[in-house]
């Protein structure tokens, strides 16, 4: 074992000190999130393009106009993601694309599962004749994408209200 590492509480610190350290970690995580959080107009654009992508996929029939909508919204979404990464790089921060902690991994898997299920249900229900599902689930995906970008811009789970 390396000399600066000890198991469990052999570091001889109190629970209060450990709690204070964890609180300072939450503060720095919230500060990073605040720095990386895109502007509201950008969040609206990203949420909108993702919602349009969901709606276009649901409403697409063979080669109708929504197939073009799907391609257009997908390209717009990819350009917006690239712009976000470039903006943060100019600010001096390169964003991590994958999760680094277990909580981050769980958050991203849940997020992907919910987005995917909403996309599939929107398509299937729309094909069954429930056209309202395309509108409802596209709005749901758009709002969820915007919410995730606002609350968890680093892709990691962050305790809310930690920023001073």
């Amino acid at each position: 074992m390396e000399p600066n590492k000890t198991t469990e509480n052999n570091g001889n610190i109190s629970a209060a000190e450990a709690k204070a350290s964890l609180e300072s970690l939450n503060r720095i995580n919230a500060s990073v999130a605040k720095t990386l959080r895109p502007p509201i107009w950008f969040i609206v654009l990203m949420g909108g393009s993702f919602g349009l992508m969901t709606f276009s996929y649901s409403a697409m029939r063979h080669e109708n106009v929504w197939a073009l909508g799907l391609i257009g919204s997908f390209i717009a979404f990819v350009i917006l993601v690239a712009f976000l990464l470039y903006r943060n790089r100019l600010l001096g921060i390169k964003m991590r694309l994958g999760p680094t902690s277990n909580s981050g991994m769980i958050l991203q898997i849940c997020q992907a599962a919910v987005f995917g299920l909403a996309l599939i249900f929107a398509r299937e229900l729309s094909l069954m004749g429930y056209q309202w599902a395309a509108y409802a689930l596209a709005s749901f995906n758009a709002l969820l994408m915007a919410g995730m970008l606002y609350l968890f811009p680093t892709g990691e789970w962050i305790e809310q209200g930690g920023a001073s």
């Binding site: 509480n9 629970a15 390169k94």
Partner: protein
């Protein structure tokens, strides 16, 4: 998965914050990190050097608009040590 291990090197407040910032990102410019931590260049250099010596942080020199700048990133062993340290802190609190 990282083991729960208390790390004295990481536990120092500034170094804990450096590791937390770097773990949330891929790479960060030295000056941005300094602004966030609200410390001087020399203080940050000292802490980064300690983490570099332990193999927890890697630094890369680049140029930005013709000016030299240093980018910092947490190494794989640094990520494991940091996650293990956070687990150890949570274990102490629980």
């Amino acid at each position: 998965m990282s083991k729960s291990e208390f790390d004295h090197l990481i536990h120092a407040p500034n170094r804990l914050q450096i590791c937390a910032f770097l773990s949330a990102t891929d790479q960060v410019e030295f000056q941005i990190l300094r602004q966030h931590l609200e410390v001087s260049d020399s203080v940050l250099s000292k802490h980064v050097k300690a983490l570099e010596d332990a193999g927890y942080v890697k630094s890369k020199k680049r140029t930005k608009l013709g000016r030299p700048c240093t980018w910092l990133e947490l190494s794989k062993s640094g990520t494991q040590a940091f996650n293990g340290h956070v687990k150890a802190l949570k274990a102490i609190v629980d």
